[in-house]
Symmetry: none
Subunit: 220 residues, 4 copies
DNA sequence: TATGAATGAGCCTTCATTCAT
DNA sequence: TATGAATGAAGGCTCATTCAT
């Protein structure tokens, strides 16, 4: 029994090493130009071995996405442990998202690439894709939970459906962070150069706006 | 002089035809699988001619992005002509953005693809890339103008820097619309399946939240 | 001594199991697409074990041929036991050949494949190849015997050399049966579609022609 | 008009050159081990150019078969021009078949390989495959014609259906010649070593047997 | 300016065989 | 004897780009 479990562990560990290697290679040249040869070399493994652990190149990329989704979702899940108001939880989640993307830019790129990959039906029906979707749904649930908490503790309006609100926050945050991400990692996107504010400032202001609105005097 | 100008006009027209053809091809199979052969055939032009008008394949893709940026920016520019409050202008701009993406999904995909392309420095320094950036900056300016108008007419809080606020709106809208786009065009992204709300509802609510905030009773 | 013999018996038995497995795999997808992995799995044996019993993949294929040759030869050998005229024996042998191929199409395909394999000198000099050749020679001998019997009992002309005649019968039968085989097993070979006659009819007529000739009135 | 025709002629000529090259390569190492690289090198053409003229590796092989079928059929067709009895025509056709195979062994191997190739449906439905089938049918027709002539001039029994008889002759000849072919081209097939008779003798005797039968006194 | 045939580097994937355990 | 993970050479095919005409 133990023996089998050890084998499985080793196999899983090897898969992780390959994913690590793939990430390294992608960091250098991007997703499109990464080759199986390079990944194999980086992983110090034969090219054939890659196919022992992954069905094909796309599967490796999917696995990167899956790991990223999992890590991000884990990080969000821990925020719910804090004793904070719902609004504060949402704020913390936004910050966690930003931090995650800043520390793991490759995963964010993978998320974007993922959306291309799963146009392929076969891939879409794979276990890994299912895991990605499940992670995303889980992350979404944490956001909705925080919103529901906020609606109960009075920190968040209860005039919106929490699910729809969650979706809005999710999508908008992704957009903001995507923008922030490009500002930090590439030297293009000149629009961003006109504005000097730090990303943290932008994110914080974004969350504040989400909270209080940008309209003046909305009560009167 | 006139002769040369006519030649230039013809050349520009031919470029547009090639871009049209490329868009048609991409519509069928996506960016990654479009080939120069197909584009040439669709444009009813020889493959060699493609290189007479564009430096390489990436340039064609860049040109698609550029055209998309220009069209979107034009559409935003016209909104400033309306006699509306700043907040209303922003709302209208959001709706225009959504409409543009819904009617021209290919350009939106091109924007995303563009971000990949310009990792290549040589491309980044091209005229086309400059035009893209310029369009984006222009679009951004229209948003900032609308915000400034709103701050003057009192419909928008003046506690934020209009540029930063513009950036936030721009990024967040892009995120929301990206999400909406995938929900409409692909049948994956299971998170979205849990929520039934129409895109219009999501966008409108997003804009409303931007306007009024989602926090409850923040004055008291 | 006995111990060793048992080991040998077990080894031989295992070889047979592997051959069985290989045949099953080949039945599914043909010779060219059968892989050692599949054969090992089908044989419920490790891939490494395959190489304990056979030098390489070609050897397995050779072994299939060898078994086929042996079975066919056995079936021919039994015909000599009948108390029939030489001509009748030949007829019976032809029918036996047809029956064998119909019941064991895989062996027939293996014979054809075998002829490709033994282009490789190393393989050609193997024990298995020798066994194949020996079986074929044996089968040939049975045919020649039948012919000799026929020449003695007067049912077959003695104007031909029995060996040469045997060769002719052997080759021609193989051709007829090959054709018949393809007609049954594949849906191509459109020439065959123009003719409706049953295989049995063709074979029987072939044997009759061999016997009586197709020329008219050759005596007068 | 002429210009287009010339292009087409050049294209056809280039195709023939590639087929020539493929034949050369196959002569050296057999069908299975010939590679596109080698064929390209032999044809003094880039690998990519191969795919300009042929869809596939299989298509090249098919084209070899097609050329072989055409040549053989042409050679058979000319025999019908002779003023001979039907039986003599058949005999001449047999000899022509043998001569063809002796002079162009590669085509004969191609015929055998062809039967493997067209298991693939897509290939089977190709134009080239249709041409092969058509050639075979044409060859068959010539044989049947000769038989019909023989039945009219009294040189061949009219008790058989000419089509069925044609099929029998076709299949049997192929078998004999296949055997003869291996005897000449490979150094295996030890059965054949026991018999010293020349191929011509075997073929001639085969045709004679077909004509007169091997049975003694078949009238009584 | 226009053509499209030709190029050839490059990629993913397969699979027979080996070898440490 | 048995395993099966690992190897790595080999192969078919694609396609952006070039260049002779």
């Amino acid at each position: 029994m133990i023996k089998k479990t050890r084998k499985e562990r080793e196999r899983a560990a090897r898969k992780q090493l390959i994913i690590d290697a793939a990430i390294e290679v992608i960091k250098k040249n991007g997703f499109e130009s990464a080759t199986m040869d390079e990944i194999a070399k980086q992983a110090e493994v034969s090219k054939g071995a890659l196919y022992l652990y992954f069905k094909n190149k796309a599967s490796i990329y999917l696995a990167i996405s899956e790991r990223g989704s999992r890590l991000l979702t884990q990080s969000l899940s821990k925020i719910l442990l804090f004793e904070l108001s719902g609004l504060e939880l949402i704020r913390k989640m936004g910050q966690a998202y930003l931090k995650f993307v800043q520390q793991n830019p490759i995963y964010f790129t993978a998320f974007i690439y993922y959306e291309n990959l799963i146009s392929d039906d076969e891939l879409f029906e794979s276990e890994l894709a299912a895991a990605c979707e499940e992670s995303a749904r889980e992350a979404m649930t944490y956001i909705v939970r925080a919103l529901q908490i906020g609606m109960q503790d009075g920190s968040i309006k209860d005039t919106y459906d929490p699910k729809e609100l969650g979706l809005i926050i999710w999508g908008a945050s992704k957009g903001i962070i995507h923008m922030a991400f490009y500002k930090e990692n590439r030297n293009h996107m000149k629009i961003l150069d006109d504005v000097d504010f730090s990303l943290d400032s932008i994110i914080n202001n974004f969350i504040e706006i989400l909270g209080t609105g940008m309209a003046n005097d909305q009560k009167s």
